[in-house]
């Protein structure tokens, strides 16, 4: 079972996609099939934390089989402390996404749900692949369903937003491919563990490594997105179907940074870390300021997300164990919070058919449950103690303080700003005088299917806030690249050190 589980997790949504594509597009059949398939995937994904052996860190549930002889590409999958919970997260976002789409998607459900499931497969593939070509395959594949669905269901100008999204992420992956091919030509392997060793012992010339690492970083930074590469984000958030938008930003890029940029090129990543920390902090403040002035709540959410992703970037490039753990944990928090916000705002859009913040006001009396949940999720996002956002932000900020007080203070200002824009948003939408829209259109409160999604998330936010050790215990077993604190104090690059999988 342990050797099959990852393959099963990968195949479950794919099988669902094929089934949805083959069976007729009759009433809610595609949606039910997708729901069953995502629930199965989630169930299978839960097998991982249940059987993960925290005492023996490193890759587990590994499968390594030759796929293509020449060039030597292996179907090599496995998870460790870093990717374990991300796989579970994708599994959880599956049913959430299907339920969020239940009412929102009324036309061409077959195409929609099969692409949705392909997207899920691609994301799972990204998190479990340990062969760079397989990883690259899933990475590219993840663009396609997203782009098509943006074009199909765009609110105003879908095709333009879809093209922007696709080109923004497709073009940087061309240098990534060249870099991967170059590594292969030097080492003869696409496999992550081999490459990590080969690079550490100097099999690749340092001059070339700089460019290779930069190509990796560039592709990942666009995907996160890191300031100033965020051009696609707001359009994608405002055009994509709710269930797709909630998965597009953040985790793929940040995970790839941790695994393949910091993990493969610790020296180069450490050298460029000050730049990334600076860009991260700029992103926090820039995103927060722009979020304050948005009129459309999807764009508001885009910049709010960018601000929070900036904080995680700072955590990744702080090069401390606390920072890495916090960053990994915060990826989970962020995705859950974003998913909940997307579902809530999507529910508002279904009811009132607008995403203009100014059109709302005084909704708390009309839709009390929706308002309550929105407040809970917002508080988690702000980082209120007892809720999960606090843990991640605290770990990241405390790690940043050990590196640089000024950057840490600037980042903290961003956290304060996030409270400002979230609370102001709540005030404008749910409280204050009742707007014309709220008064005229009678709206029902959250339906059962929506509550079925949101209450579990709200509970999870709380559990993750009070008992973070349930998660941190496994996250801390993530293999850490060379610990560079000593190198930093001695102020010389640790070129010669062999990677040690240091445990905390």
């Amino acid at each position: 079972m342990d050797s099959m589980i990852l393959t099963l997790i990968l195949l479950a949504p794919l099988a669902g996609a094929i089934l949805v594509a083959l069976l007729p597009d009759r009433s809610k059949l595609p949606a039910w099939l997708a729901l069953i398939s995502t629930l199965v995937t989630f169930g299978l994904a839960l097998h991982l934390p249940a059987h993960y052996d925290a005492a023996h860190p490193g890759f587990q549930f590994v499968v390594n089989k030759p796929w293509i002889e020449n060039p030597a590409i292996f179907y090599h999958v496995g998870v460790d402390g870093l990717s374990l919970w991300l796989v579970v997260l994708v599994g959880l976002l599956g049913p959430i996404g299907v339920l969020a789409s239940w009412k929102a998607i009324q036309r061409r459900e077959k195409v929609y749900y099969s692409l949705f499931l392909v997207q899920q497969t691609a994301m799972l593939g990204v998190f479990i692949s340990l062969d760079l070509m397989v990883y690259y395959g899933f990475w590219e594949l993840s663009l396609v369903p997203m782009a098509i669905l943006i074009a199909m269901y765009g609110r105003k100008n879908g095709p333009a937003a879809a093209t922007k999204f696709f080109l923004f992420t497709f073009i940087p992956s061309a240098p990534l491919l060249v870099a991967i091919l170059y590594l292969y030509s030097r080492t003869g392997s696409f496999q992550f563990p081999d490459l990590r060793t080969d690079i550490a012992v100097g099999a690749v010339p340092a001059g070339a490594l700089f460019w290779v690492a930069l190509a990796f970083l560039f592709a990942f930074a666009v995907k996160v997105p890191v300031f100033p590469l965020h051009g696609w984000l707001a359009d994608t958030f405002s055009e994509a179907p709710v269930a797709m938008a909630m998965v597009v930003a953040g985790k793929l890029g940040l995970y790839s940074m941790l695994r393949f940029h910091v993990g493969l090129f610790p020296v180069q990543a450490h050298n460029i870390a000050p730049l990334l920390i600076a860009l991260g902090v700029i992103g926090i403040l820039y995103g927060a300021c722009l979020a304050l002035v948005q009129r459309d709540y999807w764009r508001f959410l885009a910049f709010a997300a960018m601000s929070h992703l900036g904080l995680i970037t700072v955590g990744v490039y702080g090069f401390t164990l606390t920072g890495w753990t916090g960053a990994t944990y915060q990826i989970l928090n962020n995705e859950l919070i974003d998913a909940a916000l997307f579902v809530l705002l999507g529910a508002l859009e279904i009811r009132y058919a607008t995403s203009q913040i100014a059109a709302y006001g005084g909704l708390a009396n009309r839709v009390p449950r929706l308002a309550t949940l929105f407040v809970i999720v917002s508080l988690a996002m702000i980082g209120l103690p007892m809720l999960n956002g606090f843990i991640g932000e605290f770990l990241i900020l405390s790690s940043t303080f050990t590196i640089s007080h000024s950057w840490a203070i600037a980042a903290t200002v961003g956290v304060i700003l996030s409270a400002a824009y979230m609370l102001w948003m709540i005030q404008r939408v749910f409280y204050g005088t009742e707007s014309k829209l709220a008064a005229e259109s009678p709206a029902t409160d959250l339906r059962l299917s929506e509550q079925l999604v949101l209450w579990p998330i709200a509970v999870l936010l709380l559990i993750m806030g009070v008992a973070p050790n349930l998660w941190l215990r496994t996250i801390e077993t993530a293999p850490k690249p060379i610990v560079l604190q000593q190198a930093r104090s001695a102020d010389q690059p640790a070129v010669t050190s062999v990677p040690m999988e240091v445990q905390r």
């Binding site: 293509i68 061409r108 594949l141 199909m152 879908g158 879809a162 091919l181």
Partner: protein
Amino acid sequence: MNSIPDIYRILPEVILTITGVLVMLIDASLAPLTSRRTLGWFATIGTGVAYLASVWQLSLPMGTGYSGTVETSPFTVFFHVLICGIVIVTLLLSLDALPEDSHHQGEYYALMVFGAVGMCLLTAATELLVVFIGLEISSISTYILAGYRKQTGKGPEAAIKYFLLGSFATAFLLYGIAMVFGATGTTSIYDIARQAATAQNQLLVEGALAMMLVGILFKVSAAPFHVWTPDVYEGAPSPVVALMSTGPKAAAFAFLLRLLYEMFPHLRHLWSPVLWVVAVLSMTIGNLAALRQQNVKRMLAYSAIAHAGYLLAAFAGFGSTGIAAATFYTAAYAAMNVGIFALVTIAGGYNDERPLIADYKGLIYRSPLLGSLIIFFLISLIGIPFTGGFFGKFYSFTAAVGGGAVILAVIGLLNSGLAAAYYLRLAFAVAQRPDEEDRAVRTPIAPIGLGIITALALATIATLALGIVPGGALHAAETGAHTLQPSPAPASVPAEVTVIQTTP
């Protein structure tokens, strides 16, 4: 000498010729107004038998027949199988696409089969005069087919343009043959390969190479010999374009490989830079021009020019790597291009009733199957992993990098980013929600028949198979590549040569 009857060496060609002649004769004896569909099925089955005969040829010991004029080797079998496959798919497509009342249907099927004879002969020939005969058989069939829609103005225009320019290019080829005969006193490819390097008049040999290159580069529509392509593709019926953008091209590339790697390897220092330039020109001109097209067939014509460029990049690779990459690319390109033109035939209408990208708007809402498949083939043309297009480009650029042409690979990959922009324009038009007043919504799409379904299924399976399990096709391409390099002595090659182990 070998004890195999010479006829076995050209068995597929013989079967195809008999099929073609029978189709022509039966057509003449049928009453004028009866349906010719049965003839189409007959032609398809005949081509299928030729396909099997080609595969059977693998069991023959490699060698030449008819006094060293034709050869059977894994290389020729690869191309025979490919060409027969293309012709089968286009015949199936034509069965449903040709209007029931169109005149000369029997001729149409016969010409397709005769075209296949020419293409097959071209790949099997080891004697320049047979090469010329093969090229002419295939060209003349396609000239006639290109003008098959005589009632429209564009049909005859396309045919005449193609014919005049094509004959001109063939004249170059013939002139080259004459020159190489003058320099070496022979027209046998293997004899030339042995004598060309030591021929007294090297200038004559170099001139011959230049002339023959012009002739062949025209046939594969590489820049700067590409100007005929968009006009001809636009004027010719779509099923014919499906054939002529793939079949004759594959055959011409097969001969180009023989010409460069087998006949004139000692002139590599001359032809390699020339092809470098031609590859860059083809990619760049093709993609830039395609960006501006509104007509789907013209856009795909320019994209075909760009793909010729990607393929020529493989010629920068040394020896069998380059040959194998180029061979693989012809197969991958054929699979996806036949597929997309099959879809254009249905979606655009046989008489090009809906020629513009704007006419494809919302296709996925009207016909999910057609829409999804168009997007699928476009994704393959872009070169997204898990499709044939990705591995085609991957091997081609890997060969180029291996041959030291890193800049060429970088230009190529940037070009594929550029290409994504126009492929996506069509893909997203297909995915876009249609406006109610769109012209496209009003024109109904013809029902999809059994022939087209089979054709599409074959093309889709081939494209997917080349993208997910490319090992088999690549192995075949590599085995074929080894039979070209190093040049074996004619007619005395032991059977073991056919099973040379491929190197990783």
